[in-house]
């Protein structure tokens, strides 16, 4: 019997060695594997290369991992945010390496790793400083730069529900990097709201087949859902709104 469920986030991140490359899903708060990142912080691996769209914000999550000096290098598209002070500080002091990749090239390079593509020609970034040193080629009158796959030892992602085979469904734009990172890592750990019985996910609507998934941990329903139905009452970070109509929305950039 296939059972990829594990009992805790701690177990889901077990065995990540020092020096590992770890993909971390999410775009902003959406799809961020919050519990798995916390477990990685507790787990202790260092000298990590993190592949993620952003480079942490505030003082929790990836920012906390970086603040603990556990990250050697970040491969991402958008490290600079209003509250990315942890990354900013480390970068300025030369304590963290950055590979800046246009977001679509980042996504396609991750996809290429999962799909066994050796390299591909992308038109994005050609002629800019981010393609400096890359092999270029003109194909049917258009310039392209050669881009290589980005693989990882581990991927930490978040999905809404999954079964014991690791079949996954996501929610709205929280899908983002999850499906492609799941396929690009040797070991993929997923936090989900809910483990559902095998066979209860419609095979037409499974987004990530269990083939790509190694460990699944149930972390409980996200606070803005109740029994799978959106109930609201939170800010963009998922924090409960202050009571009595002070419902201000947050805007990140």
């Amino acid at each position: 019997m296939i059972d990829k469920t594990v009992a805790s986030a701690h177990e889901a991140v077990a065995g990540i060695p020092d020096g590992a490359t770890v993909m971390v899903g999410g775009f902003g708060r959406a799809g961020q594997p919050v519990e798995l990142i916390d477990a990685l912080i507790a787990q202790g691996a260092g000298d990590l290369t993190i592949v993620s769209n952003n480079a942490g914000d505030g003082d929790t999550g990836l920012a906390a991992l970086m603040a603990a000096r556990r990250v050697r290098k970040v491969i991402c598209s958008f490290p600079r945010q209003a509250d990315s002070w942890v990354f900013d500080g480390l970068y300025r002091e030369g304590a963290i390496e950055l590979e800046l990749v246009p977001q679509g090239n980042l996504a396609e390079r991750i996809r290429a790793a999962g799909a066994g593509i050796g390299a591909f020609y992308s038109p994005t970034g050609v002629g800019t400083e981010l393609a400096e040193g890359k092999e270029t080629r003109e194909i049917e009158g258009r310039l392209y730069a050669l881009e290589y796959p980005i693989r990882a030892d581990f991927a930490l992602i978040s999905a809404r529900a999954g079964d014991r085979w690791g079949n996954l469904v996501y929610r709205e734009t929280a899908r983002n990097f999850g499906p492609i990172m799941a396929a690009a890592a040797t070991t993929t750990a997923v936090q989900i709201d809910e483990v559902v019985p095998l066979g209860s996910l419609d095979p037409e609507t499974v987004v990530t087949p269990g083939l790509f998934v190694d460990r699944v941990v149930e972390v409980g329903e996200r606070s803005w859902l109740q029994d799978g139905v959106f109930i609201g009452g939170v800010d963009l970070e998922g924090r409960p709104l202050a009571p009595a109509g002070s419902g201000d929305t947050e805007e990140a950039s």
């Binding site: 775009f27 977001q103 679509g104 734009t173 947050e250």
Partner: protein
């Protein structure tokens, strides 16, 4: 010469977007354009973090952290929306399936080069996000920008001094003074706002600017 407001400019751009178009509105000022795209026109908004059919911001209390746009703002979904992952989303752009993309700019060169992601300032933390993908990711790239920087320098330039975002990618530039098409021969005025004159524009920009054109732009089209 008079300049129109950013809201008026957003309205002006919205008027130029054909009903039923697939459009990506970049972070910042371009998002204002959405306010003037009435629902009945069914302009389908793409957000590169994995969605077609982005709707207006939710009511207070109805913010959904799973449902955001590329600017990480809360949005809603219209009837007919679809979600997909990042590789599919950028494939859509790179593959030329979007009709129009509207972006901000630091500089646009007469050959259609765009600079909008970095000022190249020493010590700045670089961040590119989807800028370079957006620059090449639509059949038409419209830039929405003030014509002049805060220091009064023209954002339309002979060639970009800031780091490039994309080569020869801009089709049209919407500014607070005028609308310019990028042609094989450089900038050409498409429309003047208020009492703006061509000669006045030439003074502000300091570049050759062709007179009103009547044929569609060719620059930046793919």
């Amino acid at each position: 010469m008079s300049a129109i407001s950013r809201q008026e400019l957003a309205q002006r751009i919205a008027d130029d977007i054909p009903s039923g178009s697939y459009v990506n509105l970049g972070i910042g000022a371009p998002t204002l354009v959405a306010n003037y795209l009435t629902e009945d026109r069914e302009v389908v908004l793409h957000t590169e973090n994995g969605m077609l059919g982005t709707g207006p911001a939710p009511e207070p209390g109805q913010v959904d952290p799973d449902l955001i746009n590329a600017g990480k703002q809360a949005v809603t979904a219209v009837a007919g929306a679809a979600y997909f992952h990042h590789a599919d989303s950028f494939g859509m752009m790179r593959g030329g399936h979007l009709d129009i993309c509207v972006l901000g700019a630091f500089q646009v060169a007469a050959n259609g080069d765009l600079a909008n992601w970095s000022t190249g300032a020493p010590g700045a933390i670089p961040a590119v996000g989807g800028a370079m993908d957006l620059a090449i990711g639509a059949k038409q790239l419209y830039v929405m920008t003030d014509l002049l920087t805060k220091k009064g320098e023209s954002k339309l330039v002979a060639s970009c001094s800031y780091p490039l975002t994309g080569l020869g990618c801009v089709s049209r530039v919407y500014t607070d003074y005028a609308v310019f098409d990028v042609t094989d021969d450089g900038f050409a005025v498409r429309e003047l706002f208020g009492d703006t004159t061509i000669d006045g524009l030439r003074d502000l920009v300091g570049l050759p600017i062709a007179d009103f054109i009547t044929t569609p732009s060719s620059g930046g089209e793919r």
